[in-house]
């Protein structure tokens, strides 16, 4: 018995190395998980709105997304109170110098993966306020932007179109 154990100890194992996973099976499993996740979690995105110096016109139209005509939540979007709960930052305004740090900190507090949507002509390049000593001019000057929705202000329909493109 000792001899046998010793032999086994010195011999390389008989077990074959693990095969590479089947590409096909993986794809199949992936699709299943994706479906289950989409069914359970929905195509859901949590949005945190940040006013970085807007004239409040853009906010009015973002608010309108909640009304019965647009009913944003049916698409799986909802607004959250904390950047820590957010997938998307929806940023308006020409980014005033006085709001710059607050925007940077909000971005830092948002967990990855995250998207930034700059709303309005102001959010794109400062709009009518571009060139002011008090404005940085455009959200992309401060944090990376994934999507711009132009307009002054963009209509709720334009906002919806932009947001749906994110899903």
């Amino acid at each position: 018995m000792h001899k046998l154990l010793l032999q086994n100890l010195w011999r390389s194992p008989m077990t074959i190395p693990a095969p590479a996973p089947s590409e096909q099976a993986l794809a199949e499993l992936g699709a299943q998980v994706d479906q289950a996740a989409r069914r359970r979690l929905g195509r859901s995105l949590a949005i945190r709105q940040v006013d970085a110096g807007s004239c409040n016109g853009c906010e009015l139209e973002i608010h309108a997304l909640h009304n019965a005509f647009y009913d944003l939540e049916r698409f799986g979007f909802h607004f959250v109170a904390s950047p820590r709960h957010a997938d998307v930052l929806l940023v308006t305004g020409p980014v005033t110098a006085n709001m710059r740090e607050a925007l940077e900190r909000t971005y830092a507090a948002t967990p990855d993966p995250k998207w930034v949507v700059a709303v309005g002509d102001c959010g794109r390049d400062g709009g009518v306020f571009a060139g002011s000593y008090a404005c940085v001019g455009g959200v992309a000057e401060v944090i990376p932007v994934d999507l711009h929705i132009p307009g002054c202000p963009p209509s709720p329909t334009q906002l919806l179109e932009g947001l749906l493109a994110l899903l």
């Binding site: 709105q49 016109g57 009518v128 000593y133 008090a134």
Partner: protein
Amino acid sequence: MHAQSLQAILDAGQPVAAHRPWPRFVVTPDIWNTLIEGLADSAWTLLGLWGELGLVHLAVHEEGSGMLGVASLPCPAGCFPSVGRRHPPAQRLERTIADLVGLQPVDAPDIRPWLDHGRWPVRYPLGAATAPTTTMPPYRFLAVEGESLHQIPVGPVHAGIIEPGHFRFTANGEAVARLEQRLGYVHKGIESLLNGATLERAARLVGRVSGDSTVAYALAFARAAEAATETEVPARAHWLRALMAELERLANHCGDIGAICNDAAFALMLAHCAVLREQILRASAAGFGHRLLMDRVVPGGVAADLSVEGVSVLQSLVAEIRRQFPALVTLYDNTASLQDRTAKTGFVKPTLIRQFGCGGYVGRAGGRAFDARRTLGYPPYDVLKFEIPLRTDSDVNGRVWLRICEVEQSLSLIEQILQKLPSGPVRVALKTPGQPCESLALVEGFRGDILLWLRLNGDGTVARCHPRDPSWFQWPLLEAAIEGNIVADFPLCNKSFNGSYSGHDL
């Protein structure tokens, strides 16, 4: 009552040529001090306080006589006698003058910076602009002493879709002992951008001082530009402007009534009111081509005429709101749990309202019967029938009811305008002034009276423009309104005021 009339006091100064329609006087420090005493004695109301290189301007209104005037004090030494020392409503305006122009109020009780947070590449942007040489020390909030007090700092980024500002609550358990506001986060330097702007660009900028009041701001600017250049606007333009102004009032009132109820966790009202608001914006877009009516009121008239189809769209809008709104009013009135939250909450003393010359629904819910549409009677309000609703309860409930009554008035005004709309052109070209000219305009936005002072260069470009939002005299009263209320009622109180951050921060 003050011994002398405002007119008599101002007449002792040097009248300034070409300031319309109300006069401006260059005054001595003595006259300036007399004016301060009159303000402190409530003989007249502070309308505005602003500065430019070497000069401070004070706009006052005397209710009895209806006199409106501007006093300008030269400040060769870079300072002026503080108005805020005797008249608290001036304090934040003075701190702003110190920030933007660099003129110091002498003996002012509060000399902390207000809009300047130490983050601009320039100091005194409206004065002798210089690069900052020192970093600004951290802002000193008022000291809090006392046992068992705790502080709750909120903002600038708030938990909803609202504008940014900082609120420092000092609470004793649940009750708020003090609220201190810190604003200025959305300061965009609009006044500097206006310097040298063409009338067209300036109108676009002023129309974006506070997006929710874009019609009222554009109207204030247009009226000022027309007064300065002595341009007569066609009658139809006046009527279309009033139509837009009432649509804006209606949309904001409907939206806000719902939003206030939502802050008391009564979402049903918000859902219904938001639908009304959306219908108003859609009708506005159908009639004038922009949901919020931005850039529709322009110097010289209006940018877009209203078609026959537009008239009928607006007529059916009024009919639709008349059909839906009464049920919502009943719902508000009959929901005891909602009234429990709004009644007696956020009370503002009527004496404070008078002292601050607080306008809009906050002022009128606290018994101050000022509405620029009636008090000044600019066209076409001089020939339209409407009431100025007035209340004295001065709490959240009172402000909601005041706006409910104003919705009814605006509906009636829109009907009258649609019925009697005169025909004719809607826009004229503004005269080129040839030489510098100045003017003052005061118009009633949904939130209250907007003051706008304008100086044009001879070529018709803007030399200096100062728009003053009604929020300047409302924000401070919110600090008073929340005292003794529970922290959880702050959103309710705040929404019932709905001060503009952008309009205030400029």
